[in-house]
Subunit: 349 residues, 2 copies
Amino acid sequence: MTGRLARIAEHAGVSEATVSRVLNNKSNVAEETRAAVLTSIDVLGFERPSHLRSRMGAGPVGLIVPELTNPVFPLFAQVIQQRLAAKGFTAVLCTQAPGGVAEEDYLPMLLDHDVCGIIFVSGKHAESNSDISAYQKLLAEGVPIVMINGHRPEIAAPSLSTDERAAVALAFDHLVQLGHERIGLATGQPRYVPSIRKVAEFERQVAAAGMEKLIEQTWFTVEGGELAGRSLIAQGATGIICGSDLMALGVMRAATQLGLTVPTDLSVIGYDGSDITKYTGPPLTTIRQDVATMSAAAADALAELVKGHPQPSGDALFAPELLVRGSTGRAPYLTGVRHDPRTEAGGVG
Amino acid sequence: MTGRLARIAEHAGVSEATVSRVLNNKSNVAEETRAAVLTSIDVLGFERPSHLRSRMGAGPVGLIVPELTNPVFPLFAQVIQQRLAAKGFTAVLCTQAPGGVAEEDYLPMLLDHDVCGIIFVSGKHAESNSDISAYQKLLAEGVPIVMINGHRPEIAAPSLSTDERAAVALAFDHLVQLGHERIGLATGQPRYVPSIRKVAEFERQVAAAGMEKLIEQTWFTVEGGELAGRSLIAQGATGIICGSDLMALGVMRAATQLGLTVPTDLSVIGYDGSDITKYTGPPLTTIRQDVATMSAAAADALAELVKGHPQPSGDALFAPELLVRGSTGRAPYLTGVRHDPRTEAGGVG
């Protein structure tokens, strides 16, 4: 301990008593001296006491996410916040429930609180033709920003996305291998960058396989999935690739309502890979986003920007994984089963 | 518009031009004048323009929650954050993943950022014998705090909890009405206030019904539920009341692994009522916490404390609801079924 104090004192050009006062957060130290001691601690590679760590961040970091009821967003929020905390930054959470405070209304609040930067998860930037002047204004004012899942090449900021094309290709291949010949895509509104990318890859795959193009674009919710699912089932789809896990739950609900069994009559693939998909009935085959890696990269990029180190602003793509579970199976015309004949609950018997 | 400007100007004793400058966030207004105008806007009951709303909060509010993978916590976080935002407060999110930053380490970071108050959801205060000196210190320093789900009478702060006793009584009655005579309780560690309350009510119910006391206390996770479930099933329980929805998922997993069908062989009741329980296989009967009402009350209490208005610090209990879905049914000795005879996957045929 003495060695450490002495080295810090020597490096900062102050007495050991002063270093001790800074470490113990005493008030009788000039701010300049205090800053010098903290810099020496950092430069010498010592760890700051926890009560001093937050000084490393210039201010809190804004963290703008959509509503937290889709479980992939709490996961992003948690990993980003913790990664930031480990670097001494606090995160101001801004969620956007329908009818609540919107992204653009949070920005003045965040600037009022002197945020040192903002991370946007699936925000306005995820809409291909949205007004991006708010982002340009932040950049012009020197506020570092980082985008997740919604690349807009016009915004000169780090942009990290799951590779939607790879995701659709993984899902499509899986269904083809199971013998499906009528494959549908249920995803969100065409204005979203992730939808655009999914649709583009799906169209490519369908054309290459010589299949009919079955696409329904509703919303990324359970209700959106149910609506799209009913339509795709009516069009004869035996396998459906969904734009979110919640949509997949909706497609499964539509199938049940129509008397179909998953996966005997209909195979369903989700997207996001949130934990809940392990516990659905049946457990959901899904494409998992690498939330941990993306979140860490976003927090790291923001921290570097805050330090004044420029970061690449290209379109960084993160590879998704296919998790095969119980909601996908052989195409029904291969097994001869049209629907499950079990009729336990009342009825004929 | 003119009428509004004039009234504000008159009330604040300034010119209409000054009011206009404040409303448009111009910089050439003395801070005192600005504050006077804003006060007049509030006093006269006008709504502030959105860019001025954050001025109402003295600083951000700390929001300390456990990890966000249990979906009830993102729900608390979202509702509290939005309710705070509507009042002009930003929320600094602090999550505590295992091995990450802990509650006590966040406090100095939050104080560094001059939080005007802190809301704790299921924090250290939820442990009946934890060290509460950090809370006492906050109160001594004049930092308003509000507790959710973990009442400690020693802490002089508003404390809002779901009525755990009512929750267990609702679940127990439901199982008794379905004919169950061996009912188990699977909940978390005995040191948590919610566990203590659940166990106390469960013991009361069991004694009144003349049943054997079947209790397993593990963790509030899926794995904890699986462990407790296996043990309670081995002890002959036909209905299990769980301390969280995640535990209920674990109990259902244990049942499946033991060749039992839910609810034919085993009835399972969750706790929390998070959205995912609608989509489990089968959909989960669960006790729903009134997260919306509790979160709003917590945000409101904190806002009042920040304004200097004392709030009651008693044990405020919020009524839970029983949502009956597919995971509970008649006791197996009433239907004569021991387990589901279907053996689709391979085996005898």
